[in-house]
Symmetry: C2
Subunit: 289 residues, 2 copies
């Protein structure tokens, strides 16, 4: 998925928000913004939004001097989601179809996104997520695939959201399938890293690995060798969120994408509406059909 | 009023929208966006949003080759507002306070703004404008000043909106006060020019003059000599919209600002909320107090 023109103003807005988290110094915030503008001015064509996000947010980090502008925001998201955990757990435990409910909640958790979607309302999203319609949500296809494998590679997306992922991981493990949970290799926007996985207790349920990427999504050419090998030998991959979709949408692999659509670029590419909660197999891959 | 950091992503969004109106060629749209990014990267500090808007939109015009990207949008706004005119006129004619109702409608007309506020809903705004609260709306101060002068300099803002201005101009003229109506010197965003004034019949009611500015707001140093002299000898000036406020907020002159607040930059500067409809005298000017 190539970056669209809409990505330009969106990333400049993200750069402004990130610079304000990184420093209180307005002069430095302005320097960050103008340096990011200069990066945008020189970007070559054919990049994915993930590549573009990496260039932009690494510029913010370099110029502001903050290696992790979203650190506080990530901690707050984790804490807020952990406080919801008992309610989410109960919703799944009392559901007639626990796997479906857990998958829906995992998609709802993808609302937590300080890149594409900084003004989210988590409380409302959870309400809607438990009662809303899921038009494009192939839970039976996913469940069928799940029954044929012994292990799933679950590629996480954001902090906070990772608590919702935990609920789904618990259901998958309960079905006797092992989970390897992949996180980013370094802080980028509010994407989950090993620190977040540990903070929410993911390592008690799954093997936590770093994909090695320092971009807000999974682009295989930027992953470390261990992850790339793991990816290629995985029989079922669950990729969360827009960034992983953007980076993997062209890969021939047994992937299911699970996400909330949060911008016109992904909406257009998937042929679905902004706001949709989606579970969809990679099209054109034989194991998925 | 100096441009804020929020102006950077806002103007890049405007540049994208404008480039899409200017050309269907996506490659050229991208060139426009990257050239505007480069302009933003090099902007000196201390500019007003009006100056910044001029730099951005003139870059769009130059690179896209379109001297008036918003031409069609302006025509549509004029036509839509003209179709509302009989209803607006009736609302004023049947009002217990016609000047107040006309001034409120003029502020509502300022909703039509393809720069700061491209997703407006005019129909809804008119409804709300006729029934809504106007906390900061000094109609008695304005009326008192109006009774002491023989002529008003009315500085217009946008196409479409100019039909709402016409309603207020009619009320002012009915009170025996003459009106000089100023428009921009050349097309910039959807700001009204002499062509729009003529299209909606403003020249039958008022003397229409060009301020000579090719920026989306009135900055005196960019106005022609005739307008500047007129400005300085005017006993009462009515300045419409954010752009005129941004450019004139520091001028010691008998100005009343009439506008809808559409962005956090102006909201912060005026100490009022986004969405407020405002009629307020220039503070610190002796004739206004």
């Amino acid at each position: 998925l190539n970056a669209h023109l809409d990505c330009f103003p969106c990333f400049l807005r993200q750069a402004l928000e990130a610079s304000r988290m990184a420093t209180q110094d307005e002069g430095l915030q302005r320097t960050v913004l103008q340096r990011v503008s200069s990066v945008l001015a020189g970007l070559p064509r054919g990049l994915t939004p993930v590549d573009m996000g990496m260039e932009v947010h690494r510029t913010v980090q370099a110029i502001s001097g903050s290696k992790d502008p979203y650190r506080l925001v990530k901690k707050r998201s984790n804490d807020e989601a952990l406080s919801l955990y008992p309610r989410l757990r109960k919703a799944v435990d009392t559901s007639p179809d626990p796997l479906l409910t857990a998958a829906k909640l995992s998609a709802v958790g993808n609302t937590i996104d300080f890149g594409a979607n900084p003004e989210f309302d988590l409380e409302r999203s959870v309400q809607e997520g438990l009662t809303g319609k899921f038009e494009t949500f192939d839970i039976s296809g996913f469940q069928e695939r799940l029954e044929t494998v012994s292990k799933v590679l679950y590629i996480g997306d954001n902090a906070g959201e990772i608590v919702f992922d935990k609920i789904l991981v618990e259901e998958i493990v309960r079905l006797g399938v092992g989970v390897t949970f992949a996180v980013r290799g370094a802080p980028i926007i509010n994407d989950a890293t090993e620190e977040d996985a540990r903070y929410v207790g993911m390592h008690h349920l799954a093997e936590v690995v770093s994909s090695g990427v320092i971009a807000p999504g999974t682009v295989l050419s930027r992953c470390n060798q261990e992850f790339t090998e793991l990816f290629h030998r995985s029989e079922l991959i669950l990729a969360k969120g827009q960034g992983n979709y953007e980076g993997l949408s062209q890969e021939k692999a047994p992937i299911f994408f699970l996400l909330k659509i949060k911008c016109p670029v992904v909406s257009h590419d998937m042929g679905l509406e902004v706001g949709d909660l989606v579970l969809r197999p990679q099209t054109g891959h034989e194991k998925n059909t």
